[in-house]
Structures are given as C-alpha cells and as structure tokens.
Amino acid sequence: MSQTNEQDSPSRKDLRINFFRPRPGFMRKEVTIIWITLTAWAVMTFGMPIHLALTHSDPTRTLAEAPYIFGIPAYFWFSGQFLILWFIFLCFIFNVLIDWLSSSYRRRR
C-alpha cells in the first residue's frame, strides 16, 4: 500500500478482517456493495417461496385466485423465468459498482 492513502488505511498492526466489521476505506465500501447485492438476491429468491408458503396452501383456490401473466400464474413465471433475469441484472449492477469503486481507488493512489 502506498504512502498517499495513509489516512485511509488502518494502522499496519491491525490485521483484523471481518465481514461484519470491514476495515475503513476500500473494504468497507466493497462490503456495502456486497450487502446490497446479497439482500436483493436473498429477498427475491427466498422471499418468494416463503410468501407462497404462507399464502398458498390450497391448489384449486391458489390457481383460481393468483394473478396471471403470459397465461400462467405470476409466481410460476417469476420463479421459472424472471429470477434468472434478476440474477443477471444483479451481477451486472454489482460489476458496475465494483468497477466504479476500484477505478476511484486506483485514481487516488
């Protein structure tokens, strides 16, 4: 690590790495981006089956009352097709943010 960003980097004695207590500077920002992406990933992937489990217990009622999209129940389309798009989108956003973060740090050095 170079001298110029000394105030940004913690003391050289402190070697602690912990996801829940990220080091100030680059790592803290990186972990923030990771948290955002992971939350968006977990809520959509596991929130949907949990929601389905809580609200849909009877097949005939479910399929009569559920909203439809493209001719199939919305939740079915959501899990079968939309979530893959969502994953691609998340990876895209993550990459854009990390690119931005690493270029801003490269400039600072």
């Binding site: 992406t37 596991f46 097949p59 001719g71 079915f76 994953f87 691609i88 998340l90 993550f94 990459n95």
Partner: protein, 506 residues
Amino acid sequence: MEQSIRYTPFFMLCGVLIVSLIVGLLSRRHDRGGYGVQVRSIGHASIGAAIASNWMSAASFLGIAGVFFLNGYFAFAYILGWTGGYVLLLVLMGSQIRRFGKYTAPDFVEARYDSSVARVFSAVIAIVISLIYCVAQYKGIGMVFAWMFGIDYTQALVFGVLITFAYLMVAGGLKAARNPQMHYLVIIIAFVVPLMLIAKKLGYNWLVPQFSYGRALRELPEQVSNAYLFPWTFGSPYEWIALCFTLMVGTAGLPHVLSRFYTVPNNRDARWGVVWGLFFIGLLYWSAPAFGAFAHTWLTNSGTVLTPAEAQALADIIVIKTAEWVGLNEIFISILAIGGVLAAISTITGLLVTGAGAIAYDIYYRLINPKATESHLLIVAKGATLVLALLVLVIAVNPPGLIAQITAVAFALAGNTLFPVFLLGIWWDRANKHGAIAGMTVGTIITFAPILLGNMIPMLRTILPPTSSALIGAPVVILTMIIVSRLTPPPPEHLRRFLVEKVHSP
C-alpha cells in the same frame, strides 16, 4: 423397450466426435505458445460462453427437463439454485480468491490455512465431488446409449464408457485443443432448435417455446395442470428452499467452477464474463422445462398413461423421448441425443482431470512419494484417471436417483465443506487450520449421514434430505469453524497480513 438400433444418431455422434477432433487438431497449431492461456483480446461474451460450456453437463441438458416432467414447479429449485449460485460466487468470492492467487481448492486451502492435513482433506473432498458428479454424467450416457441401441442400461453404460474413453484417449494423445465457445454453441443449438420444432408440431408458438409452454401446461386436464402449476404438490416449502440454497452454496464451492475464474487474463474480465455466462446458462434453463411440459401435452393428446415407475424410468431421457413422441424428423432427435452425450463427455473430461490431478499431486506427491518426478506424476495421474473411471462405472451401474438428484449430492458436499472453508478463509482472518479441519469433518458427516443412516433413522432424511443438506449443514459448519478457531491459536501473522494487503485491497 424396442430392440432395434437407431443408426442415424449413432453415425451422427461418430461424425461429430471426429469433426471435433479435427477442429481440435487444427486449432492446436494456433495456440502452441501458451496452452490453455487465452489471448488478451478475448471478449466478455466469449469468456461467458466458456463459463457456460464448462457448466453445462448432462444434469442441465437431460436432468432438469426430467425433474420438471416429474415434479413441475419443484424443478425451479434446481434451476434457481444453479443460476443464483453464480451471484453468490461472484459477489462473495470471485475477486478475492483471484487476488489470493491459488488456482485449485487444495492449493487455496494449504496456502490459507497453512496445513498439509487440511490440504489433503480438501483434495479428498474434491475427488469425491468429482466422482459423484461423474456418476450422474455416466448415467446420462448410459440412458442415451440404451435408447440409441435398444439394449439394456448396464450394457449401454459399459459401451458408452468405452466409447467416451476411446475418444478421450485419442483426443488426449493428439493433444487436441478444446474450443469452449464452439462447444457452447453446438450444445445450445442442439437443445433449442428441436424444442422449437416440438412446439410447432404441437401447435404452440414455436418462436419462443420458453413462453408457450405455460399455455401448454394450462391446457392439460385440470387435475394434471394444477399439480404441475401448484408450488407444493411435489415438495414442501422447506424442501424447496433447502434444495435451492444447497445448490447455490454448492455452486460457489465447486472446485471446477471456481477454477474458471483463472483462465481469464484479469479480474475485471472474469467478473464481466460471469454476467454473460449466466445469460448463456439461462438460455438453456429457460428452455428446459418446456420439454417436460410438452411431454405431458403429448401424453394427454395421445391418451397414454404412464405408471409412476415408467415415468421415473423415462424422466432422464424425456428430452429425447418428447422429440420422438411428437414425431420429429430423426435427424433432430439425434441432435438432441448427441447434445446430451457431448455435454456429459466434456464434463467428465474436466472432472476426471481435476480428480486425477488431486490424486497425483495432492495425495501421491504429498503423502506417498515426495521425490516423484514430473513424468512419474503424469503416469500416476493417468492411472488415477482409469481407477476413478472404473469406480464411477461401478457406482453408475445402480444409479441411486435421477441425474439432477445425483448431481445435487455433489453440490451438497461442496456446500457443506469447501464453501465454508473458502468463505471464512477470505472474510475472517481468525479462521485457522483447526477450524478448517473440524469444519470439513462436520460437513462431510452432515452430507453422508442421511445417505448412510437414513434407513435406520428416517427422521434424518426429513431434516437433511441428501440433495439438500446444506441449508442446515453450511451454517452448522461455519459455526463449528468459528468455535474451533476461537479456541485455538490464531493463524500466523504473515497470512493475516497477506489477507489485509493483497486480498482485501483494491
């Protein structure tokens, strides 16, 4: 089963294998300088295609459609597990492991945990993962060959293994290069074009069968339609979530997936490659359920009723069967069969190489003969490949489940052992070798307990389904690692400094 040989698919398969050998030989001349290291100018899309071609196995090509045919909505747990796992891999580990600079799972474990015991342990785990994964591929090959020649499964399996091995020997002996982009293209075309034709034959929108299979499902008799559309007909919410989570953490822990991050010149390219890779994998997974749905359409239209046992037996080649049932031209049926075999062969090659490498370098060289020369190790690796292949053959004679299910067990093992070891190794400086060894031990027990003791203690299989044990397993292993690491001395300072200055710096 009809006892007749289908010549068209057989000759087409031979033709494709020969052509791919020739292409491999021709392209060998161009990259003699750096074998396996790709040129800098390579685009993100082409990295993505390489990721996808490395990923797509018989489980994707044949397995998913089979699970959807049997279990409807439940199959989405496989699809989402096998795509969402890439998000986890990219976000949590991709860049960091790359900055760490170790290319195989055992290398990483030894460097990070400073322990040859942990290294050998992780090598054994990597070998077992390869074995289980290969069993699923061999089952696919056996099923396709049984269909192709009208012979029984065991004979077909042996025959299929002989053919693949002959091909691998020749390809290896001639040092033919693989072209992953072309491989991906062949596989995806072999999958989607016949699907479009099937949709057309059945009178559905053929341009995007990925959308029209929903209509096909709704037009089935109400009872059948409801069963496949309703989320919890074939599995409880717990089973669905556990399976999906297991496959996700397994993807992030699979050695042969991880090593894809290193065949690319730089970190940024590798990250962007994942976006494309996920899209290319998605193309296959968006389409796969359509085969299962159209199979039911045909069964309903023709008034055929399959017993559960018959359906189970057909599930893993339902992709090919659907094409045959609706009366597609034999050429297109053959294309599907060949696509499945190609996906299986390429996966087997990769896995056997990984497994044999681990045996030769991580176990033989480290434990048995540290003085072995490079050429000696090469012979050991070749012998190991053969032993592994035979072992897989023995297990594959009585396949314990569907292709996708067998593969899922390999993911459960990876998710219960390597995933926590990677995760804590990167994100917690305090994780040490004692923690890693304890964690991998607990993870191995959690993976295999429901398989080995499930008959004695049925409760075990309810809580920890063999395909889905990592929802509980991975957190338990992480906890074990944290507790054991806390109770034992911290790892040496130079390692922790390395983590701070190299792995977690821009």
